[in-house]
Symmetry: C2
Subunit: 200 residues, 2 copies
DNA sequence: GGCCGTATACTCGTGGGCGAGTAAGGGGTG
DNA sequence: CACCCCTTACTCGCCCACGAGTATACGGCC
């Protein structure tokens, strides 16, 4: 296949996107990306920033442009995105948007081992999840509405998307819970018996 | 905070769940888990299996029970789950089910840098995603229906959940696409102009 | 009966990710 | 004017994940 991405960490995507707007030194990227709230969109670990920038440089996607020092502060290296970097950013974006990838949410892993617990505990856990989910939803909805006035929709797509997905999850959980407590879940007794005998 | 999980890799969760059913040696776990299709539920890399089992052993969650050889084959070490292992499995399951965690689907990352592309290309990419999504949905629905007859619902929850989420994603994408092509997306012209001037 | 492909069963090296550590300037306060 | 803490700006080193490699045996086919 088309050889794997030179730098796979999504933090690299954020860095490229930032450098397209303006050249920066790493620490500035961090504040810039935090201000933009990009760390809400991707699993960003700031400890990886310098490694990632170095890797981008190694592969010619960014390049050092200036390396001055101000006062006695540690030296700062300002980076600029290269043509190859722009191309990589565009290509990567295309891939991320056009190609749905198999995702592995942790909840799915949890569901797949849920049988090990009893049905009553399972229901209780789902209730807890649903509550947390609904609290979060209220917050997200409020935050989105607040931003709608100030920010163009283009920059709210991620939040819109996440909100929609969370709503779907809450809906599914609510239905499952109803089946479980309403008794319309099949083989409930078998599950309970199996667990009470094989369990702890 | 309650100190991080001893072994964090989700493959460890699958291994624990397998060993609760019966003691096994690592290679057998792999075939067992593949047969159960657990690699659909979690991002499992088989290259990590031996590392993960060793780590579980190191932390006392599983223990070696027998280490014989059959014929001239390489030595096989059979592992059994310990009491601590059972407890960890139950606790981990509870956490995964009851606590919604902030997830970072790659599509979200893609959306967050979509502005870098023009609106026309964006629409085209979304169209491609939607098509792929719908193809996948048809398959998943068929597979689920086929299993409904043979497998208790308890073991189909992960698939049900995933199906629901994918449907929600397809729905959102479809609506966004309609807004984009129907002209009801705000600031479309600004976006286009910005891109045509600042772009390549 | 010899050959080959596939299943069995691991081993190992590298490379990246990430947390924790470091160190100097600035500015506010008593 | 001395102290201290927060911000700026990185550096380092461990550890784990994972891909690629290895080695034997069994079964089937010609």
């Amino acid at each position: 296949m088309a050889e794997r991405r030179k730098v796979g960490n999504l933090l690299a995507l954020a860095v490229l996107a930032a450098l397209v707007e303006k050249s920066m030194h790493p620490y500035e990227m961090a504040t810039f990306l935090k201000a933009r709230g990009k760390d809400e969109d991707m699993p960003i670990k700031w400890g990886s920033l310098y490694t990632v920038v170095a890797n981008l440089a190694k592969h010619g996607l960014v390049e050092a442009v200036e390396s001055g020092r101000q006062g006695g502060r540690p030296e700062r290296t300002v980076y600029r995105v290269t043509e190859a970097g722009r191309a990589e950013l565009a290509d990567w974006t295309r891939e991320l948007v056009a190609t749905p990838e198999r995702e592995y949410p942790r909840f799915k892993a949890g569901l797949s081992v849920l049988g090990g617990l009893g049905p009553d505990e399972a229901a209780e856990l789902l209730r807890r999840r649903l509550e947390a989910l609904e609290r979060g939803l209220a917050e997200q909805r409020a935050a989105l509405d607040a931003q709608r006035a100030a920010v163009p929709r283009l920059f709210l797509l991620e939040s819109e998307y996440e909100l929609t997905m969370r709503e779907a999850e809450a809906g599914w959980t609510r239905r499952l819970l109803a089946d479980l407590t309403g008794g319309s879940f099949p083989d409930l007794d078998e599950w309970r018996r199996f667990h009470e005998s094989g369990g702890v």
